[in-house]
């Protein structure tokens, strides 16, 4: 339980920051006519207008800040009262906590502030954003909320073996970090990016010889898209660090705005180990994950590690999927006729079912091994197109929650698919009963 308090008093200054460029842009653009008529030099008006506009917005934001308080009440709920004229009171049940995250947008970081996002399970209004708190205060609040959530969760399920509480809240143990150079090299050598960059160079060479302007335009697209994606991914994943904390795995990343997200291991629904062709000489892989969560959550993590040596990635996977040995999966491979359906990748197409997980493998240029624990698979599908039918093949799909990972055992022998589907269904049912 805590006393109602306000967010950091510097918050209005940060919140109003976008007003400055907005006002300046208005005066330069649509408002330029007004400025000309007044006869005052444009630069003076723009600076004065931006400062004045900023002051007004700071004033409004300050009033809102004054009227906004948050606290943890006697029931262990997080409460937020806010609103200048229209008051709103929001209440989150911490026993249903999904995540507490600390994000620091660029401007806030200049002021040494961070944003705390608290989310609980449920549809609609199921989150509270606290803008902004000082770093230390945010860390303390997060620890407090996680502690409360764990205690309440345990009281509700009344498990004999408490587990979490007994863990010492020792310092986070860093499991992996991605050096900036490896990140950049990895991003440049992703199959699609590398392909587009090579195409751009070729286009430029061809254009230089033929002097056709169309080639330049095309090169802008083929070169611009991958560069844009490399830059955004680099900014987002710069300084990527993943550490073990009592609540799960904490991911910190970002250059312009840093992000800190915690993945509770039991919310990982599926993951993919992805290795593009050009990464294989260093044995690097990327691991993407599907995390169950609230809909419309834009910053839900989808990457466990953006680029790492395979051995390190496998150690991370062992954190979220214990007892699964990725290298010892007994795959059922696609039969020889699959070469007529998928001439490049057919040797790699395979599916494996172990007591813990279902796994599928695919891809030639970019190899992809996907895994999902049986308890997380929602349904099983078998499909067969006309071409597959004529070759005696069929595909097996394991449906999981929406996210970057999908599990499809493509072009397997028709005779094997139904028994595999049946085995998976049985394991799914038992896996659920155990929980």
């Amino acid at each position: 339980m805590t006393q109602p308090r306000r967010t950091n008093p510097l918050s209005p200054l940060v919140q109003a920051a976008p007003a400055m460029p907005a006002v300046a842009l208005f005066l330069i653009g649509p408002g330029a006519g007004l400025v000309e008529r007044s006869g005052v030099p444009l630069a003076v008006v723009v600076v004065a207008g931006a400062v004045l506009g900023y002051a007004v917005f700071v004033g409004v934001a300050w009033l809102a800040w004054w009227r906004r308080t948050f606290w943890i009440d006697a029931d262990g709920d997080l409460r937020l009262d806010s609103g200048l004229l229209q008051r709103s009171a929001r209440r989150l049940q911490l026993s249903r906590l999904q995540s507490v995250d600390i994000v620091s947008p660029f401007v806030a970081r200049l002021a040494g502030l961070v944003e705390v996002r608290v989310e609980v399970a449920g549809a609609g209004d199921s989150r509270i954003l606290l803008r902004y708190l000082a770093r230390a205060e945010a860390d303390e609040l997060r620890g407090h909320i996680l502690e409360l959530a764990r205690r309440e969760g345990e009281a509700e399920s009344a498990q004999p073996d408490g587990g979490g509480l007994a863990d010492p809240p020792g310092p986070a143990e860093v499991l992996a970090a991605v050096p900036a150079r490896r990140l950049l090299a990895g991003l440049l050598l992703r199959s699609a990016t590398a392909g587009l960059l090579v195409a751009t160079v070729l286009l430029l060479v061809v254009t230089a010889f033929t002097q056709g302007p169309a080639g330049i335009l095309l090169a802008l697209v083929t070169g611009g898209l991958p560069i844009l994606s490399v830059v955004t991914e680099f900014l987002a994943n710069y300084g990527f660090r993943i550490a073990r904390v009592p609540e799960g795995l904490r991911i910190q990343r970002g250059l312009l705005s840093t992000q800190s997200r915690t993945i509770p291991p039991d919310r990982v629904h599926a993951l993919s180990i992805i290795s593009p062709l050009l990464w294989r000489r260093w044995d690097w892989v990327r691991v993407s994950v599907t995390i169950a969560g609230v809909e419309g959550d834009d910053v839900r993590p989808d990457v466990l590690i953006p680029v790492a040596p395979r051995a390190q990635a496998l150690r991370l996977i062992a954190e979220v999927l214990p007892d699964v040995d990725v290298d010892a999966l007994a795959f059922v491979s696609a039969p020889a006729p699959a070469r007529w359906r998928s001439p490049l990748a057919w040797r790699l197409l395979a599916c494996a079912i172990t007591p813990q997980v279902i796994a599928t493998r695919s891809g030639r240029l970019t190899r992809r091994t996907s895994l999902a624990p049986h308890a997380r698979v929602q349904s099983v599908r078998v499909t067969q197109g006309p071409w597959e039918r004529s070759l005696g093949l069929a595909s097996l799909h394991a449906d999981v929650a929406p996210g970057p990972v999908s599990l499809t055992g493509r072009h397997l022998a028709e005779g094997q698919v139904r028994p595999l589907a049946q085995e998976e269904t049985d394991l799914m049912r038992r896996a659920r009963l155990l929980r």
């Binding site: 169950a292 929602q378 349904s379 499909t383 197109g385 589907a421 269904t425 049912r429």
Partner: protein, 165 residues
């Protein structure tokens, strides 16, 4: 091919088929779409287009109509479902065949749908939803009473299995 190798073989209790009224419903929709195609043909007849083109158009349109008419019948006959002790199986498709297995414990919601034409003809669709968006388990062409009963049975079984967690 030996029956064991058929990935879409029926379970022990066999498939429950859906009503042939579904074929009627889909053929009515097809016929309505064809009114538009025929109207285009009439408009074309007024333009100074060579006769040959017009005949080609008519032949193509008619063969598509005949083929679609026939495939609708096959597709409706391809639908089948089976309620087993722990899961529901739905099979469908002629060109691309599909089989979905949904354990009762994974169902989050069971929908009953019927459009205006469906209601006229007395059929309804039962659709299952799980936490995965890709689960594609819909059983169209059920008689309304059967559909309601199926929905209730599935919902009850789903609750039974989920509450046992």
């Amino acid at each position: 091919m030996d029956p064991a190798a058929d990935a879409f073989a029926p379970p022990a209790a066999g498939w429950t088929p859906v009503s042939s009224r579904l074929a009627t419903a889909r053929r009515i929709t097809l016929a309505l779409a064809f009114v538009v195609v025929a109207a285009v043909g009439v408009v074309l007849a007024w333009t100074p287009l060579p006769r040959g083109w017009l005949i080609g158009y008519a032949v193509a349109a008619l063969s598509v109509l005949v083929w679609a008419w026939w495939i609708i019948g096959r597709r409706v006959r391809s639908f089948g479902f089976a309620e087993r002790d722990d899961d529901l199986l739905v099979v469908s498709g002629v060109l691309i065949r599909r089989l979905v297995i949904v354990p009762y414990g994974r169902m989050q919601m069971v929908d009953l749908r019927a459009g205006p034409l469906d209601r006229r003809l007395g059929i309804a669709t039962v659709q299952l939803h799980t936490a995965a968006a890709t689960t594609d388990a819909a059983i169209p062409g059920l008689l309304p009473a059967d559909a309601a009963a199926l929905r209730d049975r599935l919902a009850a079984r789903g609750e039974e299995r989920t509450s046992g967690l």
